[in-house]
Symmetry: C2
Subunit: 224 residues, 2 copies
């Protein structure tokens, strides 16, 4: 059992060597939020990745810290200028999956939005990207029909199907790869369902993925 755990951890640790982490914004329908005409995206630094067991998430002083539970794609090969219609190409580009939490300094982000400034600070603090162990591709036969959930102190706050994505994976990978080449090891966060909210130090977040109602062991994140 210990040996197994160590193997898993080593595997997740390769996430730290990712070339980049690209995150899709506003990708689930929500009340009071305009549906974007096209996907938009931003970068988190790889230095913000928090490996399984490496918590806690650090809340910077004065920060209104929010969780955003997201399915992550781990890219398996070089992809340039993918066409949106190339669904098979998009699925072939995925090496594996992970569960992730796009931690966000909401007050800093809101201020940046108001001033037209970059999001990098609000999204990029150390420990702002808790990630699970890698999930084998075979465990997720259809990434557009899984359940993503997150609870805080045992209370479920996010729980929705990836069916509700506004832009599906082929469109995301198409739009990103027309701007930035995707490379083996790159990590894509696919956006968060409704229910984002604040956490304070000591709160315990649990997040994961269910396929046909069944929890995927590797997807489990537990972090204070």
């Amino acid at each position: 059992m210990n040996v197994f755990r160590r193997t898993m951890a080593t595997s997740a640790s390769s996430f730290k060597q990712a070339g980049k982490v690209v995150c899709i914004g506003r990708n689930y329908a929500e009340l009071n939020s305009a549906r974007p005409k096209q996907p938009f995206f931003f970068l988190k630094p790889t230095s913000s990745i928090l490996l399984p067991g490496a918590g806690p998430v650090i809340r910077p002083k004065g920060v209104d810290l929010h969780y955003e539970a997201e399915l992550a794609l781990i890219i398996g090969k070089t992809v340039r200028d993918l066409q949106e219609s190339d669904v098979q190409g998009a699925l072939d580009a995925i090496d594996s999956y992970a569960m992730s939490i796009d931690m966000t300094a909401r007050n800093i982000q809101n201020e940046a939005k108001k001033k037209g400034l970059p999001w990098s600070i609000s999204k990029g603090f150390d420990t702002f990207l808790p990630i699970s162990n890698p999930i084998p591709k075979s465990a997720i036969p259809n990434p557009h029909s899984i359940e993503v959930y997150l609870s805080v102190n045992g209370k479920v706050q996010q729980q929705d199907s990836t069916e509700l994505m506004l832009f599906q994976i082929p469109r995301m990978l198409s739009d990103i790869s027309k701007v930035m080449v995707l490379e083996k090891g790159d990590i894509i966060l696919t956006g968060t369902p409704k229910g984002v909210g604040p956490v304070v130090p000591g709160d315990v977040m649990r997040a994961g993925i269910r396929v046909d109602g069944k929890e995927i062991e590797e997807s489990k994140i537990e972090v204070a």
Copy 2:
């Protein structure tokens, strides 16, 4: 001579393995532009790095492409929570320098600013970060007193001393390292002096650094 060139190129190629590229925004006084109260910064993906001789810069369709000539710092060690007053600590964190051009899709950036959206797309296209060969630290005794220049088709467009930086290197590294740990190989772009402007395909950009009026050979960028 060929051997020497090859050695330099190999050395620049390590830039592609950088963990992150952090760029300071608006760091020189300009007409019609408010002086920020504190430095702000954003990320460019390492996939946007264009090594010496690897041009041209690709202008995406419909993009108003602008150059921004910037001194780059190459980080030599792990730095967390640096104090602004720790000038020696800041200088010790620098392994070497490079010249760089922060290519920007200005129309996309302006649109993002207006809508409060991230800057990542406007700053992150492939080839949007031409960089020079590494400049040995010893070649730049004082990074706050060198001349950064850029010409387009032989006409000088930017040429200013780094004395004019609004926030100097210790302040930059302090502010960044309080958000994101800095790691060996990370690249910091220190902002651009006045004179940014558009280029179109075929235009030849030349950029570099002068110390006491003397060109630094390794700093030269020539890219179409």
